[in-house]
Symmetry: C2
Subunit: 420 residues, 2 copies
């Protein structure tokens, strides 16, 4: 018999307990052992919970209990779970966590502490999609060329409604909050931070890159307007919040931002709250993994799959590497990143303006791929939309600043990256 | 150092050798060990090969070589590989195979023989897509509700061209042969047999079902005509060759056939030679795994990933179960399968015909969902297209036979299943 203790018995935690109990037949067949959830640690003992296990309000009681074989960490936060997980590992217990923030900050320390003790975290990225397993095992023969992920269901739901149904940003945000897809303070989701935590985890497995959220570009979807949506529709793009990790020369780009992507690409077809991660390997070519990125049962499905792996006796290096790569990749700085860009400018409707803007782009060595002029609601203003060929982020930012200084251009310039 | 012997050094085999050599840096980092391809067994020593390993024309020399740790079987066929793999396992060597026909017939015997010795076969289903790992590990917490796979790139390429570009069956088959997507004798692909072998493997991992190809419905795409394609387009369907394994009461349906599927479903969006497998679990909901289903490098990517798993010391039960399920599922017979159906009839253009056909359907308790009458090329014939609500395969077959006996109906009736 294998005994499991669960730290944090909310939606996911209680679903983990229920799966272990209700799907016990198949789990025992798959592992050869009975897996039993015996205790859960909660903050508030007063709240009633739909779960049939003993409860305590002291997580240390669980990680210090010699009877417990596997500790499941679903507490949320960073430093307190870090303390508790460390203690569990030091006590020789296998650990499963779904905590992306914990891993975004402490995955390398935890790998060190874990050593040969299994520490699994499939549920931390893209909920029910077994993307960690795919990267660590299924695609292990490859040098990874790129990872492109839709890893935040809130943003994808909102962008889908904006593009497919023409709903405005503020309205769809209110709707997402009503439906429980977005928090009262939606910043963590719509600002790209949630996706960034997940991207950092994938970047470690693919490239061995030890970066923290503050080291990479993180932008959200707050700036997307109806004009951008109309442009996307007209030119055959979808708009998605993407997490991108990509080999570029000897370096690796890592960034989270909204992007225009060709509507016919497979990942562009991922709508609503669903998540998907596309992985390009040097040998396999393009693969894509699709499924629910959140929800109690989907996330718990991944947690329990990790428990099954541990009970089967598998481990393997936590982040996928038994020793470090001889020629480890360097994380490129934000300014070294290259992309194609879409620019949206509001300009005064008079002769010579287009020439002024395009010659400024030219001065920075940026060449224009396509241009569209839209009549604006303001009588004397028009909107200019450009797409450019590939250039560096530094060059583009400098150009945007220079264009913003032109008398005939409103300062508020929108820049969206184009990923092909 | 880990030594690998490769049986069969064709496109996949030479790619396996090259990946082990050229991606040695990342493989060593991921496993902590040097993995070296040392010998390959080939049928024709005279043919030149783009590979830098010692060759022999005697596979037994490889499996009997005490230096060899892992044997990779890529020979093709069934009985000779079975003999050789068995011998390798009996010699205590880990085995990786991409041979779906071998597994379609001998997977349970091989599991028995292997015991604790690792026998991996990720490449046998859907090439580069790590679907075996996903089912065996990533989704192991779930009772699997259904598996729906596009697992034959030849058929999917042909159907995509027929639907998207209106190319006729014979023309697109010739084209596929020219492009190397289809064999001179295309039966194994277009008849559904290739997909069936793969489905049987997935059915074992999902449901523990020990079936052989002759136990399940296997149909191909040969009967699909322009009329069906036009109907699909008009009513918002795609046509795909699907491998389906599906829980149905206490039983499991397993079948391969072309099917109409709603164009907006994720799997309907998989075009060209690409493969995809959608898996529904009782906890995770819908997931989908997409990628190249064939090709030397993509298939070799999966073979090498299996080698990595073995070198890392993982094994786990070959077909996913350490002991058999208490209430194992029964394979439903072909006649017990239920589905919605599309029917295409050619009938004499005279009053009362529609009534005769629809009342015959009614006699068998089959209710009509939609009906469409198309003028035909023949002056006195029209085409009647029906879709029905769900009924059993037996009832539908009996009804089709009865309708075929009506004087006003041409015998050649097309029946395509609809999957929603």
């Amino acid at each position: 018999m294998v005994r499991v203790g669960i730290l944090g018995v909310g939606t996911v935690g209680s679903s983990v307990a229920r799966i272990l109990q209700e799907n016990g037949d198949i789990l025992e067949a798959r592992t050869g052992k009975k897996i039993v959830p015996v205790v859960g640690a909660v903050r508030d003992m007063g709240r009633s919970r739909d779960v049939d296990i003993r409860l305590t309000d002291n997580p240390d009681e669980v990680v210090d209990d010699p009877e417990i074989d596997i500790v499941v960490e679903l507490m949320g936060g960073v430093e307190e779970p870090y303390r508790v997980v460390r203690k569990a590992l030091e006590n020789g217990k296998a650990v499963v966590t779904a905590n992306k923030a914990l891993l975004a900050y402490h995955r390398y320390e935890l790998q060190e502490i874990a050593g040969e003790t299994p520490l699994y975290y499939e549920a931390s990225v893209a909920g029910g999609i077994p993307i960690i397993g795919a990267l660590r095992n299924g695609l292990s023969a490859n040098h990874i060329e790129s990872i492109t992920g839709i890893m935040n269901g809130t943003c994808n739901y909102m962008l889908t409604r904006m593009i497919k149904d023409g709903v405005a940003y503020d309205d769809v945000l209110a709707e997402a909050q009503r439906l429980g897809y977005a928090e009262a303070d939606p910043t963590f989701d719509v600002g790209g931070y949630d996706a960034a935590h997940k991207l950092l985890i994938l970047g470690s497995i693919a490239y061995g890159i030890d970066a923290k959220p503050e080291d990479i570009i993180i932008e959200g979807i707050e700036e997307i307007t109806q004009t951008d949506v109309e442009f996307a529709r007209e030119f055959g793009y979808e708009i998605k919040l993407l997490g991108i990790a990509k080999k570029s020369g000897n370096g690796v780009e890592m960034r989270v931002h909204s992007a225009l992507i060709p509507a016919e690409s497979m990942i562009a077809k991922v709508d609503g709250v669903m998540n998907a991660v596309s992985v390009r390997g040097d040998r396999v070519g393009e693969t894509l993994f699709y499924g629910p990125g959140a929800g109690g049962d989907a996330t718990a499905s991944a947690v329990v799959a990790d428990i099954v792996e541990i009970v089967r006796g598998n481990s393997g290096p936590m982040l996928g590497y038994k020793k470090s790569l001889e020629s480890a990749s360097r994380l490129l700085s934000a300014e070294e990143v290259t992309s194609q860009y879409y620019l949206k400018l509001k300009v005064i409707d008079e002769p010579g303006v287009l020439a002024a803007v395009s010659s400024t782009l030219g001065e920075f060595g940026i060449s224009i791929e396509s241009m569209l002029q839209k009549p604006s609601v303001d009588a004397d203003r028009v909107k200019l939309l450009f797409t450019t060929h590939i250039c560096s982020e530094k060059r583009m930012k400098d150009a945007v600043e220079a264009i913003g200084r032109l008398d005939v251009v409103d300062e508020n310039i929108t820049m969206i990256r184009i990923e092909k």
